[in-house]
């Protein structure tokens, strides 16, 4: 089930909980499909752009239903685009000059009430909005490395206000909703960190997964104080994405995208199996309904395609 949109890679994917609407952030813009990827609408059509607008990330408000609640954000060069009507129209929020390149967006699970959304950039650190994306400010206190590749937000964010940022030289953690950052003690030589995944029970179990560029996958069971390597001999190369089962650790499933190969573990990372029926050239993945057998897996490709797979046993 796919339709080639153009020859530009898919940077990020997002869907509604019921998977009736998909979003694909691509080198040429932001696209939406409401027919399981059969057709895609260009969401920037209303902007009447002279040139394609590369979009590196997309996040939906947790209450997104596409009708009454249809807030979404797209990370683009120089700023963040905000829509309150599912992408029909947009407000541009320019981040501070000089225009930064947005590498990732993260939204609070309690966004409806706290209005917190964050934008990571490749040269300027992290910008934060606490009024549903209306106003953005740079919050880099303690963030000693401003080249940020990824962010992961605690499932208990409304209580613990914790989030992690993977940077060129390691990992930083904030415990006040992204207003200040402190370095996490990652072993030397394991940076840069390209992806971070948190256990759904993170506030209690403190389990953090970190995907590195050249040293595979790391896990910490104490909020990032100590680290151990996972998947040695299997998960190698640049770990670009980590998906953790929503029932983890009760159901200890993990799915990792290393280089462009998918690796699946059903035992918390002790043993790994390569997902053989996955297509070539994967750039991003999304598992909106978890990692159980036969769960749907959205796969974005370097070619620009989006493919729907079913996870096997």
């Amino acid at each position: 089930m796919s339709e080639t949109m153009s020859n530009e890679l898919v940077y990020a994917l997002a869907t509604t909980r019921d998977m009736t609407t998909w979003f694909a952030a691509r080198g040429s813009g932001l696209y939406r499909s409401q027919d399981d990827g059969e057709s895609w609408d260009d969401l920037y059509e209303s902007l009447d752009l002279a040139e394609p607008l590369p979009t590196t990330s997309v996040v939906l408000s947790p209450d997104y239903d596409g009708k009454e609640h249809a807030r979404l954000f797209a990370g683009v060069p120089g700023g963040v685009l905000r829509s309150v009507d599912g992408g029909e129209s947009w407000f541009a929020s320019n981040l501070d000059s000089p225009p930064p390149a947005v590498s990732a967006l993260a939204i609070s699970p309690n966004f409806v009430d706290d209005g917190v959304v964050l934008a990571a950039t490749t040269e300027d650190g992290i910008f934060r909005s606490a009024n549903h994306g209306g106003h953005w400010a740079r919050w880099n206190f303690g963030l000693l490395d401003l080249t940020v590749f990824c962010m992961a937000i605690s499932p208990g964010f409304s209580e613990d206000e914790t989030l992690y940022a993977g940077v060129e030289s390691g990992i930083f953690r904030s415990t006040n909703g992204g207003r200040a950052w402190r370095e996490v003690d990652l072993p030397v030589g394991y940076e840069p960190v390209l992806s971070i995944g948190l256990s759904p029970g993170f506030p209690q179990d403190g389990i953090v997964f970190a995907g590195t560029e050249s040293q595979g996958l790391l896990v910490s069971a104490d909020y990032g104080v100590g680290w151990a390597q996972l998947g040695q001999g299997a998960v190698e190369g640049a770990v670009n994405a980590i998906l953790v089962s929503p029932d983890f650790p009760g159901r200890p499933d993990l799915l990792v995208l290393a280089d462009d190969v998918l690796w699946l573990s059903r035992d918390g990372g002790l043993q790994w199996t390569r997902v053989e029926d996955a297509p070539q050239g994967i750039s991003t993945i999304l598992a909106p309904k978890g990692l159980a057998v036969q769960s749907p897996l959205l796969v974005g490709l370097l070619s620009g395609d989006v493919v729907l797979l079913k996870l096997n046993a």
Partner: protein
């Protein structure tokens, strides 16, 4: 006539022996401690300092900080007693200087140990042996306090601590938030506000004193500043007198395709400024150069600022002491930042593009140095340098209407801020004197095992002294100390009397905490000072009183 004879008496040299020495010193100590004691606890009484001296225009000063109160006493009647008073004054001011708080606790501890020690000596005890055991006991107390210390982290805990330290809910809320953001070394500037309200603001990036070398570089007329984006930065403490000296650096920028250059130098001549402006307006190669002064007043400060800057933005600072010359500059010597700004007073850097690993190592070195240096000025400077490198700073505007009110609020805020930094480094203890009370069982065990009378006496004296702060706190709040103390003792370690609510409570969980460094410093100075004072046998008076007394 009376005045004259009193003056003559002060100027007479003399040697005073026991028992006058101890008794008169206690008299002086009592006066200082009596002035400071009412300020202990959340219901402090204020001390009015009469500084009018016949001048109706000068209003009296309201004081509730033990250190300042002690410092305002520059002389008391009777020069033997004055020696005791000045000893206590100096001790309390040292505590205030070191940690910003804890002077009232130190005062009552000091007085208790000295007075009880004196009683023991009067009964025939050996002063030197007593001192030895008092110092041993002090070390035991310090170890016990270390064991009780808990970390303070997160906005909620910091807010509770700041509120407890300041007895000011709004100030506590803001300081809790500010320190959660800037961290223990973060840069916090405290300024007088323009309204009654307390406010705070955050400044992104780092900034230094040392603005534009000339207003001619201002490009943003409204904000009176110049700003460069994606700038190369030349950093030096050299003087740039000859326009030709800059040519290699500017050529390197042109070759590297850089359009914006910040030149930071100790001094830049008018000829160089003229050349830069001419180039900006009429040059074939468009190079936007802004010239700024090297931050720092002394060459040492300048070197430190340039070293920090170079780590932050990459590149290399050209230093006079290293024999560097501007004509040898290469492109790799230039730093880079996403944004550089300067106004007539300050210059700042946002998102410097130095190596983050080197930045971490540099901060670690500065932190290590902070832990080893003892000079207060050096420590303050190191703290400021670390704070600058951490990515931003905060400004807190204190509220008030009158100048006196603003002065007081600013001083109080600074004091609480200093204590907060201490708490973030060394942790916190159960407040309201509960931590000191919890040290008593250890001393009681030691007393039971002691073989020498001086050791038993020292333990007994210290156990009594550890009660003194709680007693003072209860009395200041209007409670009868004996009854409350026995209830606290029955409740167990960590429990204390919450004088605001009037009930026994677990102090830490109720947010009633003291800063470990503050309590330890008070203990160290008070017991150490009293132990030393107890060994004093003779006072020698000089012929003339010290200058401070005559002014």
């Amino acid at each position: 006539m009376t005045k004259r004879s009193s003056r003559q008496k002060w100027q007479r040299p003399g040697v005073v022996f026991q028992p006058e020495v101890h008794l008169k010193m206690l008299e002086g100590i009592d006066q200082i401690v009596g002035a400071v004691r009412p300020t202990l606890g959340p219901f402090p009484r204020v001390v009015l300092y009469d500084r009018t001296m016949g001048d109706a225009g000068r209003v009296p000063e309201f004081l509730d900080d033990g250190g300042t109160i002690a410092r305002r006493v520059i002389q008391i009647r009777g020069r033997d007693a004055d020696v005791g008073a000045m000893l206590a004054r100096n001790l309390l001011w040292s505590v205030r200087e070191e940690v910003g708080d804890g002077t009232a606790t130190a005062a009552v501890l000091f007085r208790s140990v000295y007075a009880e020690g004196l009683r023991y000596l009067t009964a025939g005890g050996n002063a030197m042996r007593l001192r030895h055991y008092l110092e041993l006991g002090m070390r035991e107390i310090l170890t016990e306090l270390d064991g009780m210390a808990g970390k303070v982290a997160g906005e909620r805990q910091l807010r509770a601590l700041a509120t407890a330290l300041s007895n000011h809910a709004e100030l506590g809320r803001l300081l809790g938030e500010v320190f959660d953001v800037i961290g223990e070394y973060g840069r916090l500037e405290i300024r007088k506000g323009r309204t009654r309200a307390y406010e705070r603001e955050y400044v992104e990036g780092m900034y230094w004193r040392g603005g534009l070398v000339s207003r001619i570089f201002i490009t943003d007329i409204e904000r009176q500043r110049a700003e460069l984006q994606n700038a190369a930065i030349l950093m030096t403490d050299l003087d740039i007198e000859d326009p030709r000296d800059l040519v290699p650096a500017l050529s390197a920028c042109v070759q590297a395709g850089l359009e914006n250059v910040a030149v930071i130098a100790r001094k830049i001549s008018d000829a160089v400024i003229g050349m830069l402006m001419l180039n900006r307006e009429k040059g074939k190669v468009k190079l936007n150069v802004v010239a700024m002064k090297t931050p720092g007043n002394t060459s040492t400060d300048q070197r430190a600022a340039l070293t920090d800057m170079a780590v932050l933005v990459g590149g290399r600072a050209l230093l006079r002491d290293a024999g560097d010359r501007l004509r040898d500059v290469r492109a790799t010597d230039l730093g880079r930042a996403r944004r550089v700004w300067a106004d007539t007073l300050n210059m700042g850097i946002v998102a410097g593009q130095g190596d983050p690993r080197q930045l971490r190592q540099h901060i670690a070195r500065l932190r290590h140095a902070y832990g080893t240096v003892t000079d207060k000025g050096d420590r303050a400077q190191l703290q400021e340098r670390i704070g600058k490198l951490m990515g931003g700073s905060a400004t807190l505007y204190v509220g008030g209407i009158t100048e006196t009110e603003l002065d007081y609020a600013k001083e109080q805020t600074q004091r609480v801020a200093d204590a907060m930094r201490g708490a973030m480094r060394e942790g916190v203890l159960p407040g309201g004197g509960a931590a000191l009370l919890a040290c008593r069982p250890k001393l009681a065990r030691r007393m039971a095992e002691a073989e020498e009378p001086e050791e038993r006496a020292a333990c007994r004296i210290l156990m009594g002294a550890l009660e003194a702060p709680v007693r003072a706190l209860l009395e200041n709040a209007g409670y009868e100390p004996g009854e409350a103390l026995s209830e606290v003792e029955a409740a167990g370690p960590g429990y204390g009397f919450d004088v605001v609510r009037g009930e026994i409570t677990e102090m830490a969980s109720a947010g009633l905490q003291d800063v470990t460094t503050v309590v330890k410093t008070a203990v160290r100075h008070a017991i150490g000072g009293a132990a030393m004072a107890l060994t004093t046998d003779v006072i020698i008076h000089r012929a003339s009183p010290p200058d401070a007394v005559t002014t």
